[in-house]
């Protein structure tokens, strides 16, 4: 609803108000995350303030944070897409003794109570290993890079490039800048296919934006063939949305790294509550299949598992993409 009483609790829970800022409203992954937030807040009986949305704009995030603080938030969950520019805000919040949990991204500077994140370098790594293995160490791979100004895009790109260079030097990688835009990816792939008709692998750093354009293009070029066909192009995606699972079931793509939208929401709220309650965490294994690491002084990071989904485990009920309707 658009008119929830501001500052009030939309979940009706008790305790200190906890604020959540959503990073954007135009991506499937984050919209799923947004849906999980109130759901888990209810489960944990939290006093959740109406979430704000910073629309992928750091200036809006800062403004939202200030507004939420004025409205009495005792802990803030955010997902700064620009990891550099949030530093000052974090300092301010620290001075005001308001703990921050960041989701998906780790600030370059400044202290936070906990970073809830999957290891984005691992995404790139997993994709590289899967492709390298399927291609037998040689071939040509197109990589749709995310925006260079986002840490996730950079981590995935760097890890993918390093791994390819070290482990599979026989594979040529074409890294296409896309700014997370499907149309740019489609145009680049089309051009690249004309230049190198023998391309046999694709790594997409975000299934939400690249999946449909890629499939549509390959379909129109009759390149969407089963893995048994020699013309098959191996595709690894990233995100774990239901559409990707469908495509895996149909054999149109081969794998995706499931970025746990549900766990992000669940543990972001979990740590926010823990912070308000004054709990402390130490590096090491957790009770939910993950590891807390200390990335630097003042910053702990809970690295949630991000499973590689292939035809073998695509129907696993535990995957968040199988839990929501499309």
């Amino acid at each position: 609803s658009t008119t929830d009483k501001p500052g009030g609790s939309s979940t009706g829970g008790a305790g200190a108000p906890i604020a959540v800022d959503l990073p954007r409203a135009d991506s499937d992954f984050w919209n799923s995350y947004a849906k999980y937030i109130p759901q888990y807040a209810k489960e944990a009986n939290l006093n959740l303030m109406t979430p704000t949305n910073s629309q992928n704009d750091i200036a809006k995030l800062v403004a939202n944070t200030q507004a939420l603080t004025s409205q009495g938030a005792k802990a803030i969950v955010m997902a700064p897409q620009d990891t550099g520019a949030i530093a000052t805000t974090l300092n301010t919040l620290e001075q005001k003794k308001i703990p921050v949990v960041t989701v998906d991204t780790r600030p370059d500077k400044g202290n936070v109570y906990m970073v809830v994140r999957a290891d984005n370098r691992a995404y790139g790594q997993k994709a590289c290993e899967y492709l390298g293995q399927k291609l037998g160490g040689k071939g040509k791979v197109v990589e749709f890079q995310g925006s260079l100004s986002s840490v996730n895009g950079r981590d995935r790109s760097e890890a993918f490039a390093e791994c390819m260079q070290q482990k599979y030097p026989g594979i040529t990688v074409f890294a296409e800048p896309t700014e997370w835009e499907g149309a740019k990816a489609s145009a680049a792939l089309q051009t690249r296919l004309a230049q190198h008709p023998d391309i046999n692998g694709i790594y997409m750093q975000a299934g939400g934006v690249f999946l449909a354009p890629t499939l549509q293009l390959l379909r129109s070029k009759n390149l969407l063939v089963p893995p048994t066909d020699s013309k098959h192009i191996f595709i690894v995606s990233n995100d774990g949305i239901p559409q990707e699972f469908d495509a895996i079931r149909k054999g149109e793509i081969d794998a995706t790294v499931s970025q746990p939208a549900d766990l992000y929401a669940k543990y972001a709220l979990f740590y926010a509550k823990a912070a308000v309650d004054g709990k402390k965490f130490e590096p090491g294994k957790t009770d939910h299949d993950s590891t807390i690491v200390q990335v630097r002084e003042g910053v702990l990071e809970d690295q949630l598992p991000a499973p590689l989904v292939t035809k073998d485990n695509v129907d696993d009920k535990a995957l968040w993409g199988n839990q929501i309707g499309k």
Partner: protein, 334 residues
């Protein structure tokens, strides 16, 4: 009084500058073709050139609409949001709620007509605000740009629409005689546009309105009515571009078309269309579209690093401009 009438000043045949300006980009296009061929022989392959054309179809339709409006002396920024909203609405009204539809589940055959109708309505709404209420075109369409995109996000909840009915994907996804249907479509639409602007009264009226609206009114042109039609045509073309894009990409992202408006203006203005109205041709604008398409294709083929690609792209555009200036020798307007 008797006078031998002095011979009228020698009517030196003026160089048809408008004509020249139109062709100003042809050398640039040739140069780009040569550069492309040198960088990679694949560039000149039929497949690659067809790709370039197909990738530019949506942009070219938007540019056509925008050029009409610019020639008429107005302005429309909201086209890029129409590219997203029109097909999104058309699709959301027909697909089931499970696929992020609105839940109305109208007959799928209605998707395309709804989409086009939405485009026309948006154009009409712009027209009402600008022509009837006398609001500034820039700020109205900027407001519409934001609002329409917001409505799309609101309706779809920010999700991409994946389950497109075949009628929607048909246009952007069909090949006729080895060339995408969308390319044929553009050829037809541009031919019609060039004919209308060059040889028909209603088309010439747009030039007159952009050149001097008062004079056009004095000459009996129904300036408002003509501009309403122009805004609606532009909306329709934007909706059509949205359909093509949806078909080509197989889905409608909630940011479909976003950021295109800068490219639209770049293409039109590089192609010699004046921001002050009354000047420019569709042929020139089309050349502008091709230049942009060729430049990005070549940069992709050349494998310019992600780090520097944007700087190179911008620089190439600036150089193209300076060259166009030197070839025509005509100062451009602000």
């Amino acid at each position: 009084m008797t006078t031998t009438v002095t011979a009228p000043a020698p009517a030196r045949r003026a160089v048809p500058l408008a004509r020249l300006r139109d062709l100003a980009l042809v050398p640039a296009i040739v140069a780009l073709l040569v550069v492309g061929a040198l960088i990679d022989p694949v560039f000149l392959s039929r497949a690659n050139l067809v790709n370039v054309l197909q990738q530019q179809t949506e942009l070219s339709l938007l540019v056509l609409g925008e050029t009409l409006i610019l020639i008429g002396g107005r302005f429309d920024l909201s086209l890029e949001s129409t590219v997203g909203l029109a097909p999104a609405l058309g699709v959301a009204l027909v697909i089931p709620a499970a696929s992020h539809g609105i839940g109305t589940e109208w007959a799928t055959a209605l998707a395309v007509p709804i989409c086009l109708l939405v485009g026309i309505l948006i154009g009409a709404l712009n027209g009402v605000l600008i022509l009837r209420f006398g609001l500034s075109a820039f700020i109205v369409t900027l407001g519409m740009l934001i609002t329409l995109r917001g409505v799309q996000i609101g309706i779809t909840g920010g999700q991409s629409l994946f389950d497109l009915p075949p009628s929607v994907t048909y246009l952007g996804n069909t090949i006729w005689l080895g060339v995408p249907l969308s390319v044929w479509l553009c050829v037809v639409v541009f031919a019609a546009g060039i004919a209308a602007l060059g040889w028909f009264r209603q088309g010439r009226a747009v030039y007159a309105i952009g050149g001097n609206a008062d004079a056009a009114r004095a000459a009996g042109i129904r300036t408002d009515r003509v501009m309403y039609v122009v805004f609606m045509i532009a909306g329709l073309l934007a909706a059509l571009a949205g359909l093509l894009m949806a078909g080509r990409l197989g889905s409608i992202a909630s940011n479909q078309g976003s950021q295109m408006i800068f490219q639209v203006f770049a293409a039109a203005v590089i192609g010699g269309v004046s921001m002050n109205g009354g000047k420019g041709t569709l042929f020139g604008a089309l050349c502008g579209v091709l230049v942009l398409g060729l430049v990005s294709n070549i940069l992709t083929l050349a494998g310019v690093s992600a780090q520097w690609i944007q700087a190179v792209y911008g620089l190439v555009i600036l150089v193209a401009l300076v060259l166009a200036r030197l070839t025509t020798g005509k100062s451009q307007d602000s």
